[in-house]
Symmetry: C2
Subunit: 190 residues, 2 copies
DNA sequence: GTCTATATAGTGATAGAC
DNA sequence: GTCTATCACTATATAGAC
């Protein structure tokens, strides 16, 4: 792996763990086993390296989600599989956590991949919910866009609850509650 | 207002805006109009002052929630009023944002008020949901504890979505989706 | 491309005068 | 109780040798 790649990967890890404000260029270099000069040769500075790291994390998160969302099965199956898939809950969401970082939100370039990722995810879930309505899995009164946003919010909020309590159970509890509500929003097929 | 109070209030503001990692003692002192010596006279250090600030923010959040949650009306009315009440969405949740801070989560003392606040809120909502079931507003198959966690998660996740998109609309969308799901979980009274 | 040296500012705290 | 001085350390770079 190239030095540039190692720097990006180290930045991904540290941004996930400590956020942008809590991560220093020096810490990234040390984890990557690279010197100062090396980092400033490949990137213009902290923000530039962070942008590369955020873009890569966003792409990885999208790919991971698509794995469950594009699987065969009913809409309910796919959404349920996505919600229940194995996660490192107490580490939080590598993308969602960035939305709490003041320097990320303040910089349009750094915020963009975060924004894009959630827009994509909401859109993807809305498609699946619409598909589910067509198949009679869900009530037609259910608004796909609103419900998609709710699903993503439960995931992101589930991480918050779990980390606040230092217990992954709280994530699972919130997901269970959501699946209970979705199950009761059945359509004509039930 | 005493110097100690001004320091706590400044710390509350800065913790809300920039988190624990992103807030320096110096910045707190300047916002409070106090010198170094003053801060270290009243508090043993940054963590001690932050703890006082977090406790105060937690108490304020609880009081604000209780205002809607203890209002007269049906369970649905009270939950809906709480979810739809005016919020400074783009600033995020002063307590929830702390769950993303590595130094808060790593320190049991600093995490405690955050944990307590969410535990209280989930418990309070579960009570109201149980009450709603008794009144026939909600299906008895709905698990109050799970659903309460889901409601809190939608709120916390709503902040994440709004900040990621720099638009409060995304918070409202997630809430609307949740109210749609809750409305479809009606019990015998519907 | 990578290294070391150096620079400027900020961090988190202590010391001691007033 | 509050102030200023000082401290060791870190943050985020730039410069220039190799």
């Amino acid at each position: 792996m190239s030095t540039s790649d190692r720097l990006i990967e180290s930045a991904q890890d540290l941004l996930w763990e400590r956020g942008y404000v809590g991560t220093s260029p020096k810490a990234i270099q040390q984890r990557a086993g690279a010197g100062q000069g090396s980092m400033y040769h490949h990137f213009t500075g902290k923000a530039d390296l962070a942008l590369a790291a955020i873009r890569r994390s966003a792409a990885e998160m999208r790919a991971a989600a698509e794995e469950q969302l594009s699987a065969p099965g009913s809409a309910t199956d796919r959404i349920s599989a996505y919600l229940r898939r194995e996660r490192d809950v107490l580490r939080g969401c590598p993308i969602g956590r960035l939305s709490q970082d003041p320097d990320i939100v303040a910089d349009a370039h750094l915020r963009q991949p975060v924004d894009d990722t959630f827009a994509w995810l909401r859109g993807r879930l809305a498609e699946i919910l619409t598909d589910g309505q067509a198949r009679g899995e869900f009530d037609h009164a259910l608004d796909p866009d609103d419900t998609a946003a709710t699903i993503v919010a439960v995931l992101q909020g589930g991480y918050v609850l779990a980390r606040a309590a230092d217990s992954a159970d709280h994530f699972d509890t919130a997901i269970r509650g959501l699946l209970g509500l979705l199950g009761r929003a059945g359509g004509s097929a039930r």
